[in-house]
Symmetry: D2
């Protein structure tokens, strides 16, 4: 234990408490500090000016939620091996350690996968994270990686970090809600933690907590509609991808844009090593776009200016796969003097708010299901059977398809 408890003030949890010196050491690694320079919500800040918080504060929050959960397990005498406390708290803290800047955009364009990099960072002997883990608890790095890649034998431990009711979601729904100012993401976190309990290798909640869990699942529903799928934020994401594609295309043609950071060069040349990966953050991309907006390639410069100055693309809803409509827009865009490869895009976002069948075995109890424990009947009940609103949003794939294009192609743009 630390000689004195460390605390972080936090608008979500009030305080985040650190007693374990390993947690403290991990927070102070350069790989964790990098997460301060990666925004949690990617491009959402263009719509919600308050949504500028980083993956660092989210990571602290996930750690804190795990800490509170295992503390509640102990207080209630639930069947949870307290010797795994440290493992799951560490995994909660490190679960996003491999995130790239604007991660989803970068992942798609460059072919990175942040989960793979999280694992590498934890296991690579050159990282401060790995060294801290092994210094305090030899062998721990491998266990943490196993929690994060879900290969760990304890399904229960895995589900605390990645599951239907995991510390990751519990923190980010609350955090994104509070920082953006969008109230819909709030739910009764204290009660959820109190009613969670381990049961045969999974986290279940008491039946009396049905409506609390309903509110949590509906918070997801609202946050997707109001924040995560917001069309204006998606427009910024569309432009971001176009920038990255253009830069990559230029590199592939031997016309590298102005150098601003060696890691970026490695990235576009598919030669990223560990040190360079760990140097990548939002500021590296922003600075590159900032330089490139004055560079020789007209397309790259224009896209960078749009992104930095928030002169975004317009859009129309394009729910069906209407190839004619798409081609019509391609023609218009070309006629207006823009290269359609970078100036027209279909953006598709989809999620299932609650998928009880996901990963289901023959008993229908997949990883995606959330179960309530009925004390009287001594049995588990899958929650959509008890809740009509959840039944309504369960298994339903919400897909949004939008067609993005420069507002200039229309005399009267459809959306501002």
């Amino acid at each position: 234990m630390l000689s004195e408890e460390k605390v972080f003030k936090d608008p979500v949890h009030g305080y985040i408490y650190v007693n374990d010196p390993l947690i403290w050491a991990l927070i102070n690694t350069k790989e964790m500090q990098r997460l301060r320079r990666i925004r949690q919500l990617g491009t959402s800040y263009v719509t919600y000016p308050g949504g500028e918080h980083s993956r660092f504060s989210h990571s602290l929050g996930v750690y804190e939620v795990v800490r509170q959960i295992v503390q509640a397990f102990a207080r209630n005498g639930y069947p949870w091996p307290s010797e795994m406390d440290r493992l799951v708290m560490v995994a909660g803290l490190l679960h996003d350690i491999g995130h790239a800047p604007f991660s989803h955009a970068l992942e798609k364009v460059i072919g990175l996968r942040h989960e793979v990099w999280s694992e590498r960072i934890i296991l690579d002997p050159t990282t401060e994270v790995h060294q801290a883990l092994e210094a305090y608890d030899p062998g721990l790095a491998k266990d943490v990686a196993a929690i994060i890649d879900k290969s760990h034998p304890s399904k229960l431990a895995v589900s605390l970090v990645s599951g239907q009711l995991d510390a990751d979601r519990l923190d980010y729904l609350m955090r994104d809600s509070i920082f953006t100012g969008v109230d819909y993401g709030k739910f009764d976190l204290a009660r959820i933690i109190r009613i969670m309990r381990p049961h045969e290798g999974r986290i279940v909640v008491k039946r009396s907590g049905l409506h609390t869990v309903e509110a949590y699942l509906l918070a997801r529903y609202f946050m997707y509609w109001q924040v995560y799928f917001h069309p204006v934020s998606r427009s910024a994401e569309v432009i971001l991808k176009a920038i990255l594609r253009r830069a990559k295309d230029l590199v592939d043609q031997g016309q590298d844009p102005a150098p601003t950071h060696f890691a970026l060069k490695q990235l576009f040349h598919n030669q990223l090593d560990m040190a360079s990966y760990c140097a990548l953050d939002d500021t590296v991309l922003f600075n590159a776009f900032n330089v490139w907006q004055y560079g020789p390639d007209k397309i790259l410069a224009d896209l960078c200016r749009r992104f930095l100055d928030r002169h975004l693309f317009s859009y129309t809803d394009a729910p069906g796969h209407d190839e004619d409509a798409y081609q019509a827009m391609v023609s218009k865009v070309r006629a207006a003097g823009f290269d359609p490869s970078y100036y027209v895009a279909i953006d598709e976002t989809a999620t299932v708010y609650y998928d009880y069948y996901l990963g289901a075995d023959h008993n229908g109890s997949g990883d995606g299901a959330l179960f309530l424990w009925d004390e009287n009947q001594q049995q588990l009940i899958e929650m959509s059977r008890l809740s009509e609103p959840i039944q309504a949003i369960a298994r339903d794939r919400q897909a949004l398809r939008r067609l993005y294009f420069p507002p200039e192609v229309l005399t009267h743009p459809v959306h501002g």
Copy 2:
């Protein structure tokens, strides 16, 4: 008026309402969008992980507070020329337009002054801000600049943006408090706006609102102690200044560090033009430090690493001007192999929470004074005469002096 009211969701004010098309046009200029990439609280995020909000959201907030104030003036029939509404709302929005990244550090090292740049940006015909102002209202740019540099003939209008009870402070105390999670900065903003009234060229408040204003002044007191003067954030600031000085020194010796952005080159060569100034933001500095941490100059690389990885300097309180203690530390630091020019620093922070004498004329009623209007006695009363806690903190210069140094010079560092 805009055909449809625009709104921004905001954790401080709930919503920020925009009806005036000029305000909307200004928000969408590249100079305003730049403020999204400058953190409001400089290095405070190292202590308060939630304090990652930008000057952009603060600027919107100041606009919103001005809007609410002039609306309240109109509703109450107070003597305020409503034709100045737009001018003060614009001035509120633009008051920080010239801020540099990590502005106070940069200002001291490089010799910039953000007030000067604010004025230049507003008056320079090449900026989008200037063009928007003049397109909507020719001559407005000059008036706005006059509000911001306090030369405008309407003292009242100036005091709404820069005064003892101005929209700037009203927003930032609340905003910094909410984002850091530090509760002390909160006060009853709705009531303050309700009890403010113009009176002979200054903003006064009704005597019945004494305790509301007390709470506001005490919020300043608390925020300085808990946030703005926090020793750990100051340590990051000390290192930031050392980086900038080292880079400047290298440039002066003809050993420019690796180029990462042309504006930075101009900055260190004292050749900043308008376009480059407007390209500077936090991400430009972060990216440079990120590259330089791997560069050839050992001192610069080490300082950059400390800044990015939050390996900060330790400190001791050094209240008096004890030259011996300082020299002793210089010796220790040198003995430990560090160059004292960059590795030892005295950091002095000072403010006066409430200075009723500031700018006082022969009647003792300076700009620094806050007056209450006593309806029964039909007279103004300077507020420290009515409040013992305010009397206690008034005119009192709170100066903190701390000596910073690398923790390595001590076997047992004083502070972690």
Copy 3:
């Protein structure tokens, strides 16, 4: 206008603003002040200790919400006759003026209907409310009564006070949520007020506000389950009704319990006049129960003690109409020495969270429906067609049936 705006501090709306001298005069009538002594949530305080707020603060809140709505209508230039502002603000303030103490229980046992008494109080020339209305605006009393009993020709005006999205619900869901501490009842009130608009005699909302309205309807759903239908609060209500029935039965047998207030005597003798009705409040009933707990009738005394000391009945869920189970409990209760007429009860609670068909005409657009205005398609769309969660809870009558009995009849009570 009042020479100076009056304000009430309020945990729900921040401040409640009064500018109209009639509103101020009405607040200060004895009939309005009586509402300070009637709890908004009846017996819910036995479950939620914070739920002790009165119908007085709720009435102020409804007035404030109406005030904000008509102000938003004016600001947005919507088709709303501003000369009706005062009428609807007054109706909002007075909508609960005829509420009896613990109203639903008393209404059922004694046969009062609070809507009828609201109308009487407004129209009766002896009341201060009536006198204030007529003094300020002759003929207004009749119009206000017409809004409250929904006979007013302006459907729009009626719907602001009683409708699917009325000021009454908007206030009580927020208020009950905040005072009980149950978070589920919160929604984005500011945005709902902003997106409401009059449209052909009804209140509709912009389609872009779909999710905000969803959250409001779901708040109702949650509040019913978590607060309004809470089984322990219902147990106190069951006992309250038994007390009232027992007292009434005793009166009918010529065995009046000890006199504590003349209005109560009139009540039980079916001789209530206006003055006595306006003397009835929660404290009159509490004091009577307090005296009667020491009275000669064993049943009445025991029930009063249970109510005051919170020694409530136990319950089992009794979803079907199982006469055998009921009779079995009657036998048990009798065997334990209790009179089943007062000591066994079926409590049934039911609501429909959203009934779009309610009052539907041949176009299917009943009063119960909530419509969204689609600006592009220039048409109204009933909201359950756009929202799966709302479709799930619409038209669905949620009925709960529980069987209540003294815990003493079971060696091991089912619930504590």
Copy 4:
């Protein structure tokens, strides 16, 4: 331990947790349930409509704060005998058990002292509270009474319930602030609990927590000015006292007002026994006033109407002891046809926000002092030595003197 943790939802603490069956049993006693019918803030509801919360919810809150404090002591390994946990939690819960309705008014007029009755209720073998205590822990009743009357040998235990930084104040400042909607009473409760520590028989706080404790003491200052001493609430209190004096005078003259509750009769005849005392609550008084407003004594009836209908007395500030001004008002009141014995009153309220000298011994360290622990210097420092705002309000007796009278005596009343 209870087989299942019980919880109360609470707007102040989120949840109140009960694990100890004795705490649960005490909450369910009739004496504790009585506190649901006594408003925490007496007559403050006439000014702050939200301030209708009861001493019951406050008592639960004090218990919860004590629980959190002793839990923090245990977690931090501070020198606190955990076998006293139950004693102090019980004392916190029961500290107000003897409160009379509108206690301060009643105490002054009738000569009750609630502290004495608290002790009696705990020690009297006929009360449910006493029986619960002795059933669970024989001898505990005496110890609890000793904590409450401050005679217990453990000064530390006493100070948790009654001291400069006790659970009572920590709860009521927050609670009164939240329910009235007055923000000034809020402070960082979680941090205060974290920095409290036992030190040589007293509670001290770490020096680093100076500003947190400053904010707490200033919250007291603000709440006194804004809520507890509010002139309109005091006006209701002045009338309440006049009612009680008039009723007592009538009883003394053999002209008892109409009987409404036997306990009231005993009260006015100075014959209160335990059972009757425990029957007294706000509703007994309200019901009596309600009946008496129609009774034969003109003075009593008029005063009761004023109290119920909020037709309060006007006031002027009367800071000095100006006998002439008082006599002038007496003459005016008499001339207007009112009996000055009941219709003129000087109301004096006074407190000292922080009195470090209170109970000081020769070392100057009285019970009234709040000490900070300086870890570096290993010594205690009395807090006003470190804080200018606290120095400003310390030892300073804030006395307000106001002269109250019926508004009818003035053609133009001074205040409404």
